[in-house]
Amino acid sequence: MGLREYVVRRFLQLIVTFWAFFTLLFVLFRMMPGDPTSMFILDGMTPEQREQRIAELGLDQPLYVQYVEYIRQLLTGDFGQSFIYREPVTDIILIRFMNTIVLMGTALVFAYLIGVTFGALMGWWRNSRFERGGIIVTLMARSSPEFWVGIVLLSVFVFWLGWFPSSGMRTTGGELGGGFVARYGSLDFLRHLFLPALTGAIVYLATPTLLMRSTMLDVLNADFIEIKKAEGLPERTVLYKHAARNSILPLVTVAAIATGAAMGGSVVIETVFNWPGMGREMVRAVNNNDYPVAMAAFFLMGSVVILMNFVADLAYVYLDPRVEYE
């Protein structure tokens, strides 16, 4: 199979995966307890108004009509109105989605930068104290749920040392307003970002570190490493350009899985640090039966994961000349 065919085939798979994911969402959210009008009844809605509302939402239609309508709406990016905020879901969710991406993106980038370097060195200095200590520290980080790491950091840096703000994204002003630069471009923002991002970095560091270490150990046993040393190339070149470069391949695949973990993890981290992102919003929405918001959040998180899996597969092909496209 040629490269082009592979990409096309992988793309078709992507579409099937998305379709399956859409359907899963549809099924899950139609099963939600309490119908979406129950919130309005509290507001003193008359039965007639309620009927009308249900008709507005299309809930009186047969299920397949609802399904088709649902797919159409998703594809046009229309998630309906929030039951709580009474605003279009898109308006509510997009800005929070950005906040989440900024937070978790930062966390992942740091997790990978540190993890890859740390893991490569652990492999290079195998059987050293550095390696043994590194493994213990890494496993400790990996054994801690996000909220636990967050709480420890909060206790130390906020409650005890008082170095960082405890929650939110900005000290003053609305958390959601302003342009991109106004929102993310200040020192104040960075101070707020530090602890939650660090939390994510610590938790997601373990996988790349351990994987990098073990692939390094394999790669270092390969004949070509010996040849590169025999070539007289400096240790740095052998370590980074050859050993680490080869070891990084499996990490590409895992990066996609890590994104999945991070998307889920954002729910927890944002709750701990009160970060105005999509994860926290989702918890709030589920607790308040605000289905449109919950569904949009879930939809976006899943889409990011599915897309990342796709990108990772393509990146792998690009990075490893040996891949056979099957």
Partner: protein, 358 residues
């Protein structure tokens, strides 16, 4: 002129139960342009000896004693960076057994050749280095455009040629070829060997050719050193080793390989297994398997004895050459149960299992 002079070299590996004496008191010198073969069973220490020369040893290895002088420079005393810059690849390069694994899979072969050229030669441009890689390919019988191919795109034989191109890219004075053709099929083997010889002649490089295969060394080497249990037990010019060896082990090795000129020859293998290299103790290391072992063989380690023209043998009975050669040609000799120390019940008796020696 002597290019490489190894004297009393001892390279040991640290293991759980003591030191593995993989190279134990070895002396060997090599002239410019000369090809020396190292033959011996698996585990006899051939690779260790070769790698000691460029100090390309694993972490648990140590050169405990002896000297390796290359062109007057004492290698054991160089710092790592001197070693890298002055000797590795520019003076001494190597060809591994499996070329496919010798290249980094994620770069093209050309990129790897260019990298090593440019690292060792300041001021060579990428284009020049690439041009050199292409012309090397041409000389070695590979389409020059294939420098842009990745290692996995080469066949086994082609990859081995590409590896030779890499090894010769800096015209080194010495090439360490560790079983360069074992992984290939017979027809290709011969062609690769011819190519290596041709290029070596052109560049006047010396070579150490490691192999299990007597026929390979006899065709390609000027001199042959037979390695057993971490020691060179016999060394002479190729002709002498093939036609007139004196050491019982060499005689046994010779029996185990088909002679192209003699169709009726019966293949006989040496019974028993290679010696334990951890604390081997005194005495001849071949004694447990040697049909000619005497009392003295078990007690005293034989010293190298010279028989003219650089023919040196480590055997107490090397003087009885006619007896040894006649008896060693007989199958019964190697089946005999007398092998093993007669008066020592604890000694491992070599089994007469007929197994090839690798």
């Amino acid at each position: 002129m002597t290019l490489l002079d190894i004297t009393n070299l001892k390279t040991y590996y640290r293991a759980e139960d003591g030191w593995v004496r993989a190279t134990d008191d070895v002396s060997l010198s090599i002239e410019r342009g000369e090809t020396v073969g190292l033959v011996g069973e698996s585990g006899s220490g051939k690779t260790t000896l070769a790698k000691s020369i460029i100090r390309l040893l694993p972490d648990n290895a140590e050169i405990v004693d002896g000297s390796v002088a290359f062109d007057g420079t004492e290698i054991t005393e160089l710092t790592d960076s001197e070693l890298r810059k002055q000797l590795r690849w520019s003076e001494i390069s190597m060809i591994p057994q499996n070329a496919m694994n010798g290249f980094d899979p994620v770069y093209t072969v050309g990129q790897q050749i260019v990298q090593v050229i440019r690292y060792h030669e300041d001021g060579t441009s990428k284009a020049e280095a690439r041009e050199r890689a292409r012309s090397l390919f041409d000389e070695l019988g590979i389409e020059p455009d294939r420098v842009d191919d990745y290692p996995h795109q080469f066949s086994g034989g082609m990859a081995q040629r590409a590896m030779i191109a890499l090894a010769l890219a800096l015209s080194p004075s010495l090439v360490l070829a560790d079983e360069p053709t074992t992984a290939l099929d017979v027809v290709i083997q011969d062609r690769i060997l011819e190519t290596i010889k041709k290029m070596q002649k052109e560049l006047n490089s010396a070579m150490i050719m490691i192999t299990h295969d007597m026929s390979v060394v006899s065709e390609t080497c000027d001199r042959i050193a037979v390695v057993y249990g971490g020691r060179i037990i016999e060394i002479a010019d190729a002709e002498t080793i093939i036609t007139n060896p004196r050491h019982p082990y060499t005689l046994g090795l010779r029996n185990a390989f088909p002679d192209i000129n003699d169709d009726d020859q019966e293949l006989i293998s040496i019974p028993g297994t290679p010696p334990e290299l951890v604390d081997p103790g005194e005495g001849c290391r071949f004694a447990p398997r040697c049909p000619f072992a005497e009392e003295a063989c078990w007690e005293v380690t034989p010293e190298p004895e010279s028989y003219g023209d650089g023919h040196e043998v480590e055997c107490h009975r090397a003087d009885e050459v006619e007896l040894l050669q006649t008896e060693a040609g007989k199958k019964e000799t190697w089946l005999e149960q007398e092998i093993g120390r007669p008066d020592d019940p604890t000694a491992d008796r070599a089994t007469a299992e007929v197994e090839s020696d690798d």
